[in-house]
Structure formats: C-alpha cells, structure tokens
C-alpha cells in the first residue's frame, strides 16, 4: 500500500540505523510520546536496531491507558442505566475499573456496543430515538475533531438522545509535566505525528525553546521512527534544540485549520486527571457550555466516585520515562494483559502491554519482533 510499504523497507531501515550508530558519540535518552509509536517500536524491534548508547523510553501517549479509573467507573455506572446504549472504541471496553470492565457488563445484559467511529455512534442515536445513546469520547488531539464533529452534528440536527462522556487528554501539557519531573531522564522527544497533523507545530516550538529540548515530529512506520531518532541524535550531538518535522508528508506547520477550529468550537480546555500520573493543569477537553445538552456527565447523575490504584504498579514511573516495564516485579507475573494492575498494561499501546505482547516478559517463549513488511494495518 502506498505510503506504507516504502516506509517499512528493511534495507532503508538498516541504512538509517547505521547512520545513527555513526552519529552517536555518547549516551542519549529519547522518549517517543505516542503509544502508537511505542507499539511500532516494540513490534518491529526498532529499539534493538539502535546502538546501546541510544535509549528509547516510552511516553504517556495512550489515551486508553491514562483515562482515570473514576471516569471508567462513571462509564460503567451510565452503561447500567435504563434505555442506555453505551458506545465506545473497542480497546476501552476491556479496561478494568473498580467495578469490572464494560465487556463483562455487556455479558450481563447491558447494551454496550463497539463502534469504529463516533459518527457511527451518532447514527445509532438517529436510528434509535427511544434510546439514550452515549459515546465514550476519549483520545488525544488526533481524535478530537471526529468527536467534535459527532457532537456538532447532533446539535445541528437536534439528535437530543446522543451524548458524549468526554475524557480527552492533550499532549503538550503532559510533555511539560515530564520535563518538570524530578529526575527526568528525557533529553529529546519523537513528537506525535498525528496529533501534530491536526494541531501543527506551534505548541511544540514553545516547549522546545522553553526547556531547550529537541522535538522531532515523527510518523509511525519503521523508516519514520528511525529517521526521527537520527534527527534527534544529530540535534543532541550538535547541541541544538529545535522542532524538526520528519513527517512533513502528513504534518503541515499550522496543522489542519478546519479541524482545529471545529475542535476549539466544541471543546473547552480543562484540568484533567491522568491515570498513573495525577492531575495535570489544562491537559484535557470537556464540552463547551453551548453543547451541554449533549454532555453525558451533566445528563447522567453519577455519584462521586473515589478509587484506588494497585500499590504494586509502577505505571506512573513508566509513563514518565523513569522506569521500563521490566523494572516492575509484577510485570508478566501478577500483571498481564488479562489481569492488568495499571495504566500501561490495559491497552495494546501501553508500554507494558506492548512488551508483553511481543514476548519481552519473564517466561516468554517468543522474543522476536515482527518482520518488516508484515502488515495488519486494518
């Protein structure tokens, strides 16, 4: 497939990896921000193509992982209410809250449905005017325009039985929080390509200047990721700290103006609690007051929820790049994708789940990346 195959070419990857090895003269710690990048890196073994002096640590960029337990419990409570059809992206359904996951709830008779798009959830609402259709609106800036469009159309068409439980998170405040963490190890970032396709580079230029940190906006395929690492290492070796755009075929400097405007119209920026990390100021979206008729948090009266995380879990340290999955005594033992103890094991894009899936856990019989070119994009 065009724009995929050529970015998975093994010989090109090898050449870039060689260039990285030749460029590197000392140790560097890089963080890939986005969970999709983490998944690709572990899946293709990109980190193992790098010289040992270049370490990749894995960022907080998995919205499924960082959705707070309170919000999952709220989803759970809403899904059990009468006449509710609760809709969500599939990977959110198996995330355990304090009262179990949504998939289990469905097996007990609740009407919980997986949708591919928030626009599909809106269509369910149009076709079922006697039901209250709720969509679990999670994601980063990448997903915000689609979610915004669903709410915008619901208001415009008067689809009053459609609402959204919004738990959106934003990338730049999380990067700032990582850089401010005591003991921070991150010296450069592979920036989140698809977030930037929407939002542009402006916020990242501010971060790069303020913290004197190189940020290379990077795509998701092996060639992209290796080129992103090469650009980061070059900047570090030369003492530069700039924003570079490795992913210019997809990311324009200003992002997508129409998508940004739609997002800004429908959502307001708020403080948001991140699972494993805590509350980060101005790091999320909620629906703007103009759209409050479609705000599930307002429409469904859910009691105050207080939750506790497992004491054994170190996901907060993993999400900030301070620890790796294998540093955790529970990894692959008490904590597996079937019985996740915390944020980074709950979704395939969490660092712990990605390590587990590709055989990097104690007792694994397979510890081998997927060959370049193997393809499961759909």
């Amino acid at each position: 497939m065009r724009y995929l195959d050529e970015y998975r070419a093994g010989d090109v990857c090898k050449r870039i990896a060689d260039a990285i090895a030749r460029t590197t003269t000392r140790t560097w710690v890089l963080m890939e921000v986005c969970g999709g990048q983490t998944h690709s890196i572990v899946r293709y073994g990109i980190d193992r193509m790098l010289p040992s002096s270049v370490e990749l640590v894995h960022g907080p960029g998995c919205p499924v992982c960082v959705t707070s337990l309170e919000m999952i419990d709220r989803a759970h409570a809403i899904a059990t209410m009468p006449d509710v059809v609760f809709t969500s992206f599939g990977d959110m359904l198996r995330v355990p809250g304090s009262r179990g996951d949504l998939l289990t709830l469905r097996s007990r008779g609740a009407d919980v449905r997986i949708v591919y798009s928030p626009l599909d959830a809106l269509e369910i609402a149009r076709k079922n005017p006697d039901k209250r259709v709720v969509f679990f609106g999670i994601g980063f800036e990448t997903t915000a325009p689609a979610n915004a469009m669903a709410v915008h159309l619901a208001k415009r068409e008067g689809v009053s039985n459609f609402s959204m439980l919004v738990s959106h998170v934003l990338v730049p405040p999380a990067m700032a929080a990582i850089l401010q963490t005591k003991g921070n190890r991150v010296q450069a970032f592979l920036g989140p390509g698809h977030v930037c396709a929407v939002m542009g580079l402006g916020d990242y230029e501010v971060l790069s200047q303020r913290y004197r940190v190189p940020i290379v906006v990077t795509g998701f395929e092996p060639v992209d990721l290796l080129e992103g690492v090469l650009c980061c290492v070059r900047q570090l070796e030369q003492g530069r700290a700039e924003v570079e755009n490795q992913y210019s075929r997809t990311v324009a400097h200003g992002g997508n103006r129409a998508a940004r405007e739609l997002t800004a119209k429908v959502f307001d920026v708020v403080d948001r609690k991140w699972r494993g990390v805590g509350t980060i100021p101005r790091s999320g979206y909620r629906l703007a007051p103009e759209y409050s008729a479609h705000d599930a948090e307002r429409l469904f009266d859910v009691d105050t929820i207080v939750t506790e995380e497992s004491a054994a879990c170190i996901s907060g340290l993993v999400l900030r790049g301070l620890k790796k999955p294998r540093d955790c005594p529970a990894f692959g033992k008490a904590c597996t994708p079937q019985t996740p103890l915390g944020a980074t094991m709950v979704s395939g894009e969490g660092a712990c789940a990605a390590y587990y899936q590709y055989g990097r856990h104690p007792g694994a019989t397979l510890d081998k990346p997927v060959a370049m070119g193997e393809d499961d994009v759909l």
Partner: protein, 80 residues
Amino acid sequence: MCLGIPGEVMEISEEDGVLTGKVRFGGVSREVCLACVPDVVVGDYVLVHVGFALTKIDAEEAARTYEILLELAGAEEGLS
C-alpha cells in the same frame, strides 16, 4: 489509539451539507467524513482516523523527503 491510515479517495459526495466520500485502503474501502479536507479531489490520499480524514497526504513532499532520506543515509555511508 492515534492510528491513522493513508487511503485513496475514490468518490466524493455531500450528505446533509457534510462532505463525505469513499476511501480505499488496499483492498478495503469505507465511508469517510471529509469535512476537514474541503479541497480534496478524487485520487488524493488522505490520512484517516476513526472514520474521519485528518489531512491530505502531500505527494510531492513525500517524494521529496524520501529522496533526501535516501541521499542522507547513502551519503553518510560513503563517508564512513
């Protein structure tokens, strides 16, 4: 979660004032909302995330940067 897939726009239409279209990903095609890529034409590639086109893929920029990448890796090899 932020997975985006490049696909080729095969048809463009308007439904209730919203630009929509059929986009092909290899052998599979599906309906995609094109509201945020208003200048899209049939044959363009768009990056699709949860049924929504986030941006057009810039074919010239892709060709240009890939060329530079190959030169870069090749040239460094020549120097070593």
